[in-house]
Amino acid sequence: MNKQEFDAKALTVRSLELRKVVLDMIMKSGGGHIGGDFSVMDTLVTLYFDQMNISPENQDDPDRDYFIMSKGHSVESYYAVLAAKGFFETETVVNEFSQFGSRFIGHPNNELPGIEMNSGSLGHGLPVSVGMALACRKENRASRVYTVMGDGEVAEGSVWEGFMAAGHYKLANLCAVVDRNRLQISGATEQVMTHENLHAQIESFGWNVIETDGNDIAKLHEAFEQAKTVTDRPTCIIANTVKGYGGGEIMENKAAWHHHVPNQEEYDQIVKALEAKKEGVLHE
């Protein structure tokens, strides 16, 4: 494993830059799920550039780490990260995303390099991850299995079937993340279907649960490192995030931006907000 030393500042800058790629993808295609893309980006950057043993070079190695983007509608952020990781060209995905006949479909497609499983229908990633973690343990692989869910997604019953089985089989090689941005397409998650007791609920299924700031890469790093020290249970990281994080006042914490496509003026404002945030990080 070719692991670089953890550099929270560099990864935070990268995460802000990749949000701009997402923005361009969505502007060009006229569709996408920008709010969740921006909230989950820090988790993806931490996983792909700090935590996971995965790269274009080892993508077929059975001992690699495995990832499933269960909240498949945040595919733009996933594509941006995979492109930055070298699985395909950033320019290609920006130009081809959601275009007629494109391989870059509006939900993850495992005919593309770097994508393990197709997703899009919510509530699939965790149960599939359970199967992967079981298989990796059976095969004595060092692999870890990661999946990222949305907080609206945890209303799906199949998610709880996954929590149940992972707890039952004590899958310590499995780490799930809930991108807890507290907004879903119809409004606040707590109004749509409450998850106020999420931490206790997941814990009661036999999981180690860590709550952290999901838009702080140093804290995410810490949470993922802590998860690796737990050897008798799976870990769920509840990543408390802000929907639209980094895009500035115009889009942060606004349910309407779940899948809003910015106009040119909004685009300019978001770019400005991302740049300002980047400058702030660089001059910390």
Binding site: P62, Y66, N110, E116, M117, N118, S119, G120, S121, H124, P127, V128, S129, V130, G131, M132, A133, L134, A135, C136, K138, E139, G157, S158, E161, G162, M164, A165, H168
Partner: protein, 313 residues
């Protein structure tokens, strides 16, 4: 009368291979007894996964395992695995192209007395409509074993439906002609037949009985054991239709979207002939043991022969 149900033949075949191949897994949803898979679970505990009564989890977990190189066989009543976990079959198995074999046990109206919740008269239609999903309904235990032997060799998704009760042998240990995705023909496709009967699963036996009854009346019938519902053996369907005046399909399924529909489309497109599809009604199926229910709806040798005579008149 044979006492070995097709599900037991699956268990025995998998056990024979699991000794040599540690990647073969059996997954059950509190269904190992009904699936006849208890011997497998006892003999290969390390290759057995219990998921509890959670069919969605069953299929997704299998997909994850298959993606990591294992060869999972999922067992659950056909009524549940084909529709309760339909989306998992569509997305995690067929769309993601994982090497998962879904085994629907106690299929059709095996649980005749238990009501519609436990009948799987929609499974052929449901599974066939998924791209990259194959659908098989083997007729007897020998063909079932041959089918599983063949499925063990490939890495593609498949759905297999078997019934709960033992069915009379059609083939034997030494005489079981089998070619993957080719129907087994009983009779002569080159001859001038009066009727071509195309059947699958438990309906093959009555189709053969009907052919015999018809022969006694001087009516010549050819029977195709169409265990491969998808991909349908279109070549045999066309040859059978061309050889006969009438095509009759027989299946333990609802009248819509089953094997009969696929045959009718193939015949209509290639060699238009009258096609009669014999199936369960588009209604609540009458309560009773499956044999009595089949008799009630004319899905037996006599009923099929009677239908052929009526239509040929």
């Amino acid at each position: 009368m044979n006492k070995i149900p097709n599900r037991q033949a699956i268990c025995e075949t998998l056990m024979a291979h699991a000794k040599e191949d540690r990647h073969i897994y059996a997954l059950c949803s509190d269904s190992r007894g009904s699936a006849s898979m208890t011997p497998f679970f006892n003999a290969f505990p390390e290759q057995s996964i219990e998921v509890g009564i959670a069919e969605q989890n069953l299929v997704s977990i299998a997909a994850g395992m298959a993606h990591c190189g294992e060869k999972p066989y999922c067992f659950s009543p056909a009524c549940f695995i084909s529709t309760r976990s339909y989306e998992q079959a569509k997305v995690d198995v067929a769309y993601s192209n994982t090497n998962v074999k879904l085994i629907g046990i106690s299929g059709g109206i095996s649980y005749g007395e238990l009501g519609m919740s436990h009948h799987s008269a929609q499974d052929i239609a449901a599974m066939s409509a998924i791209p990259n999903m194959r659908v098989y309904l083997p007729s007897d235990r020998f063909q079932t074993a041959k089918l599983i032997e063949s499925l063990l060799q490939d890495k593609k998704p498949a759905y297999v439906r078997v019934g709960r009760n033992p069915v009379e042998d059609i083939y034997s240990e030494t005489e079981c002609p089998f070619e993957m995705d080719r129907a087994t023909v009983h009779g002569d496709l080159e001859a001038e037949n009066d009727v071509a009967i195309i059947a699958c699963g438990e309906m093959v036996r009555p189709a053969l009985e009907a052919a015999k009854l018809l022969q006694d009346k001087g009516i010549k019938a050819v029977v195709a054991d169409m265990y491969c519902v998808k991909p349908l053996d279109q070549d045999t369907v066309i040859k059978a239709a061309k050889s006969a005046k009438l095509v009759i399909t027989v299946e333990e399924h609802a009248p819509y979207g089953g094997m009969g529909s696929a045959v009718a489309v193939t015949v209509g497109e290639n060699c238009p002939k009258k096609v009669i599809t014999m199936a369960l009604p588009d209604d609540h199926v009458i309560t009773g043991k499956s044999a009595a229910v089949f008799d009630y709806y004319g899905l037996n040798g006599e009923g099929i022969a009677k239908k052929a005579v009526e239509v040929l008149k």
